[in-house]
């Protein structure tokens, strides 16, 4: 009960403080929040786009959460996502194959690229004990510039890749038609499958058991016969694969190609918040992604329908995360309230 109450109260508190900010700066919070609501749930188009936005957040959140659960801090989801995006688009555009092969292949390419990008930090951590945070931060930049250069090379000096073939696309006329031409694509199903996969991997398999054990206590795990290095690398690689899939969602679903980028997508960094909002559990990640994705997407409608500046929405989102992080204080408050009630 309290586990549900805490995030709900955090969200309410975040919105409340956001409302105060709006009032103070001369905007109408009621109008603002109606716009936010409509931006998320207003019509089938909004719902479709909200779900589309949630999709990569789930995967990025899984990537971060998986690493955390195995004792690693993968701050490189952003870079892994970028290479995953590129690889998926490359396979999606460069080959002519029937859909049953092409789409899975392109998705796999994304996952593989992300995994590869995470392999190096994993290897350095396993073999040389080099802190994964710093390597993954560096790998983010390397991904950004290398992918930009690859796009340039591939497109003969252009700024974007070819479009993926229809056979590699996650989009569908059906989804578009029921959501009034939103870009909702089948990626959400894949993302949810990955949630199940992560849960299964961590909670059901011997591999997951080992990964968690190594994350908690390397010495005891080694004593129990587990291979420490292998598990660290594997954890990074799986985490990177999730991140790569998030990129594949963008490449094969939302965009259908890739542009050279001036900076990061932000999804990878937001994935940290998503994962931690969800307490690093697979189910929690869904919650985090829904919260984050909805706010992010719905926020677009606040300047649109209520002329409230984007920045205020960002403030609200940050506050919501802040309050969720402060869950302990909310718990304390709740228990005090319930004690008082008992006393009466």
């Amino acid at each position: 009960m309290i586990n549900i109450l805490v995030p709900v109260i955090s969200v309410i508190l975040g919105l409340l403080v956001g409302a105060i900010v709006m009032v103070v700066s001369g905007y109408d919070p009621v109008k603002g929040y109606i716009a936010l609501w409509n931006g998320i749930f207003g019509d089938s188009y909004a719902i479709g786009e909200t779900i589309r936005q949630i999709t990569p957040y789930i995967l990025a959140g899984l990537a971060v959460a998986f690493a955390f659960r195995t004792g690693l801090f993968n701050i490189g989801v952003e870079g892994q996502l970028i290479v995953g995006w590129f690889a998926a688009v490359y396979v999606g555009a460069a080959f002519d194959l029937p859909k049953v092969i092409h789409l899975p292949l392109a998705i796999l390419a994304g996952a593989a690229a992300g995994a590869l990008w995470a392999f190096l930090p994993g290897l350095l951590k396993a073999k040389m004990k080099i802190h994964e945070v710093i390597v993954t931060i560096m790998m983010n930049y390397v991904a950004l510039y290398v992918v930009n250069a690859l796009i340039k090379t591939w497109s003969g000096g252009g700024d974007k890749t070819e479009r993926i073939k229809e056979t590699a696309s996650l989009r569908s006329d059906f989804l578009a038609s029921i959501t009034d031409y939103s870009r909702l694509h089948y990626g959400i199903i894949l993302a949810l499958l990955m949630v199940v996969l992560m849960w299964f991997l961590l909670e059901k398999t011997t591999t997951g058991f080992e990964l968690k054990a190594v994350g908690f206590n390397e010495n005891a795990s080694e004593y129990a016969g587990m291979k420490i290095g292998k598990n660290i690398i594997l954890a990074m690689v799986i985490s990177g694969a999730f991140a790569g899939l998030a990129g594949a969602m963008e490449g094969l679903g939302t965009f259908g190609n890739m542009y050279t980028r001036g900076g990061f997508t932000g999804i990878g960094f937001d994935g940290i918040a998503v994962a931690l909002l969800g307490a690093n559990t697979p189910l929690g990640v869904i919650f985090g992604a829904v919260l984050f994705g909805s706010l992010k997407y719905g926020a677009l409608n606040m300047p649109n329908a209520a002329q409230i500046p984007e920045e205020i929405v960002q403030i609200v989102i940050a506050l919501v995360i802040f309050f969720v992080a402060c869950g302990y204080a909310i718990r304390l408050l709740l228990s005090k309230i319930s004690k008082k009630k008992e006393a009466k």
Partner: protein
């Protein structure tokens, strides 16, 4: 007798953790200049009571008087000001600090705003000399022995001028030599007019040094007795609530085939210093071989090399005739080796895992706990419940985090895990460290059972008592080699002590004779 002057009175102290009552109206009165022992089973609430006195916990009820005055000890600062110092059960030392830094922390001498380490170190050296503590002020904690760390803890309290000292299980991880030293130190402190509360599970120590004993059981005060009017047996039964057998009953050994064979083994430590230097050892089915030795003579490296946790430099290790030198830990365990590790928190347990997972930590990948890489958690639960039941692990259930169990119960779970795998060789390293007499008795019985069912047991212990009581053969390790092997019945603690100090049996005999002569002369 002087008028009864209490420096500390803890009256009807009550401490609750949630719904659990850890201290249920316990009263403890400490006289000036006495050593007052506090005795109780693992988890009885001793540390809790002392943490209340030291200001780390706030009691729910009762009152504390210091030198007759009622006080509220709201945090350790207050305790320090009242002259109360505590040596904690789990050392409160910052590992990568030097001895001096640890000692002055919170009370630092300065010169022009910066730390005056040299002055502090001088003072530490002086104190150390005054009490015969022999501590290097500039050594890093992570580099010094447990005994030395213990003395640093004591210095911490002395440095602050504590008049009332609490020792929470100071001897649990000390070697016999170090314990002797500690006792000397305690006596010195008392002579200086200080008062001591001593927690220990070793009844002999209580008999040796304490003036009075307060016994608690399951959070309740049982009473206070005058040591000289009591006996170990009485204390034990007061504490446990039943009769305790001290000398473990066991029949003679019937050793058969060799299980463990270590030949000319050379192992280096993490700093690449040779610690095991051409060691030979053999353990057969149906016998318990005890390794006696002073800490640091290569015991840890030897076990780590056998179990695959450390690479050997040369020599060989084989189990049942099969060479396992430099095999990975998994291959070693699968060749029939069970291992109760020396450090249960570092190697023995994943503290954040449920105790059930920990019980499955060696077998989770095998049938019936898993099939085809898929773990059957129901099977793990069943298995864990069975071990918990069978080995009397006191816990709320298999899902409780290992962290929340007391050390004794953690240890029982580990023993259950290792024994239940039915290994041909069971290596038990310091298996009873920090445990109460009841638990020790239980563990010793299990080791003997293993032997009697035809397994080989290798016991490493710093406690001569334990080695003498449990082993069938005692291999004395000194400077990385087994210098002699003796039978418990054919030796005594004195001879063993001399052997452990590196003397040959002949020398030992001579020295013993001499000593005996001396005694006569005196």
């Amino acid at each position: 007798m002087k008028p009864l002057e209490y420096v500390i009175e803890m009256l009807n102290i009550r401490k609750e953790f949630g719904n659990f009552v850890a201290n249920d109206n316990i009263t403890l009165q400490l006289r000036k200049g006495e050593i007052h022992a506090l005795l109780g089973e693992n988890g009885a609430g001793k540390s809790t009571l002392m943490n209340v006195l030291f200001g780390l916990y706030q009691p729910e009820g009762g009152e504390i008087r210091v030198r007759g005055k009622k006080v509220a000890i709201t945090d350790p600062n207050v305790a320090n000001e009242l002259g109360i110092g505590m040596v904690h059960q789990h050392f409160m030392l910052v590992e990568n600090f030097t001895v001096t830094e640890n000692i002055i922390l919170g009370n630092e001498p300065t010169k022009g705003g910066s730390l005056n380490i040299s002055a502090a170190a001088k003072k530490v050296a002086e104190l150390s000399k005054q009490y015969g503590l022999n501590v290097d002020p500039y050594a890093k904690i992570e580099d010094i022995s447990v005994g030395m760390q213990q003395r640093v803890e004591i210095l911490k309290t002395l440095y602050r001028g504590a008049e009332i000292l609490i020792f929470d299980e100071p001897t649990a991880s000390l070697t016999p030599q170090e314990i002797m030293e500690l006792i000397t130190i305690m006596r010195k402190l008392i002579k200086e007019g200080k008062s001591i509360i001593l927690i220990t599970h070793k009844l002999q120590e209580i008999m040796d040094v304490s003036d009075r004993v307060t016994v608690i059981r399951k959070g309740k005060g049982i009473g206070t007795v005058i040591t000289s009017e009591s006996s170990p047996e009485e204390l034990a039964s007061l504490m446990v609530g039943r009769q305790v057998i001290f000398k473990t009953e066991k029949g003679p050994a019937h050793p058969t085939d060799e299980v463990l064979a270590v030949k000319d083994l050379v192992v280096t430590d993490s700093r690449n210093v040779e610690k095991v230097k051409g060691l030979n050892l053999s353990v057969r089915r149906g016998e318990i071989v005890g390794i006696a030795g002073i800490d640091g003579n290569g015991q840890s490296e030897l076990i780590e090399a056998i179990t695959g946790l450390r690479k050997t430099k040369s020599g060989s290790v084989s189990i049942n005739g099969k060479d396992i030198t430099n095999k990975r830990p998994r291959q070693v365990t699968e060749s029939g080796v069970g291992h109760i590790p020396q450090d249960r928190h570092k190697h023995g347990l994943v503290l954040d895992f449920p105790i059930g997972y920990n019980i499955a930590l060696q077998t989770y990948y095998q049938k019936p706990l898993s099939k085809g890489g898929i773990i059957d958690y129901k099977a793990i639960d069943r298995f864990a419940e069975q071990i918990i039941e069978q080995y009397d692990v006191r816990t709320q259930g298999a899902h409780e985090p290992a962290r929340a169990l007391s050390g004794g119960n953690q240890q029982k779970a580990i023993i259950g895990r290792e024994v239940e795998r039915d290994p041909d060789l069971l290596i038990a390293a310091l298996p009873t460290r920090g445990l109460d007499v009841g638990a020790i008795e239980f563990i010793h019985r299990r080791l003997i059972e293993q032997r009697d069912s035809g397994k080989a047991v290798l016991l490493i212990s710093f406690e001569l008592d334990e080695v003498m009581n449990v082993s069938d053969r005692i291999a004395v390790i000194y400077d990385g080699a087994i210098i002699d092997t003796v039978k418990p019945l054919e030796t005594d603690e004195q001879e063993l002590g001399l052997l452990m100090a590196g003397h040959s049996r002949k020398e030992a005999a001579a020295m013993q004779a001499e000593e005996g002569d001396d005694k006569h002369v005196q």
